[in-house]
Symmetry: none
Subunit: 187 residues, 2 copies
């Protein structure tokens, strides 16, 4: 467990929904240790984290629709402990740097953009219905195509080879999972 049961005695700065926290408030260790444990105020009210979301996701904050990047999910507890653990060091690093800027008198936090690009996950491809249909047809004929066949299919459907390969992997997986489920499920 990454977050030790910190003593609530050290008078941390509580962050409520009604106020906009400063960076130093955000950086308080108590706050950090509590992250991922309690529901928090909206991200939109928290400049540093909002910025973090922006940076993590590479997109602007949408006012109506809350962002769902890992950082924001961490903030909202909408995240698994394991993910939280992975994210925490990044968060700490970012926040400490943000605090530094803040101490240097940099008022406008939104101008603070930097940090590491952090290799981003491949954008989730969305297959066209036609492509899915074709893929399923291929799958039905052969659920385990060779590398060469995968290449050909990819070329035919005009998708990345790796994407097609993974599609077959996942397809086999779900098939196995669902069929297994039937075996186990007894009323």
């Amino acid at each position: 467990t990454p977050a030790p049961a910190a003593k609530p005695s050290s008078a941390p700065v509580p962050i409520t929904c009604s106020e906009t926290p400063t960076v130093s408030q955000l950086v308080s260790s108590k706050h950090l240790s509590e992250l991922g444990k309690e529901p928090r105020s909206p991200v939109s009210q928290r400049p540093a984290l909002a910025l973090l979301c922006e940076q993590t996701q590479g997109g602007a904050l949408t006012p109506s629709l809350p962002p769902r990047c890992p950082a924001c999910r961490f903030e909202k507890l909408d995240i698994t402990p394991k993910s939280a653990q992975k994210l925490k060091p990044v968060l700490e690093k970012w926040l400490s740097e943000a605090e530094l800027r803040n101490q240097e008198g940099q008022q406008n936090l939104m101008e603070f953009v930097g940090g590491e690009p952090s290799k981003k996950r491949k954008r989730r491809t969305s297959f066209t219905p036609q492509a899915i249909e074709a893929l399923n047809a291929y799958f039905e004929k052969n659920a385990l195509p060779t590398g060469q066949e995968i290449t050909e299919i990819a070329k035919e459907l005009n998708y990345d080879r790796e994407v097609v390969r993974v599609w077959f992997c996942n397809r086999r997986q779900t098939l196995k999972n669902t069929s297994k489920l039937n075996v186990f499920q007894i009323p």
Copy 2:
């Protein structure tokens, strides 16, 4: 859904990857009670479960070699939540049958427990971000470490040697897969 962390409701004790619940937790857990329709009775009122506790905790089962029966694996949470969910029916069946036998005064309950494949897959290790960073640093310097080097790295990072070895294998493989140098790569 294996991630109870996402649920904001004040639900029963969730089973997460990061903690090992006690038997009583398991009994009161949403996991187990969900399948049964009614709330569970206390452990003390459930002979089979009590026995299960005894056997798994009191060391009646072989202590060195981990028991492989579904119940024991469930008890020790030597499975992921998702697996636990899959295993639940089996466990429930075991419990009811065990209770039946117990009522009949039958002592050796473990005889009918077997049947589960003993080929337990190694639990997926999750590297800390620090470890991954370190591994990547090593990898950048040398993607193909010798056995001796692997041993040293494993020792340094305090991971199992085999785990580190496999990490390097997979790292090379991933690199190869995602590499755009593939001859058959579609642009």
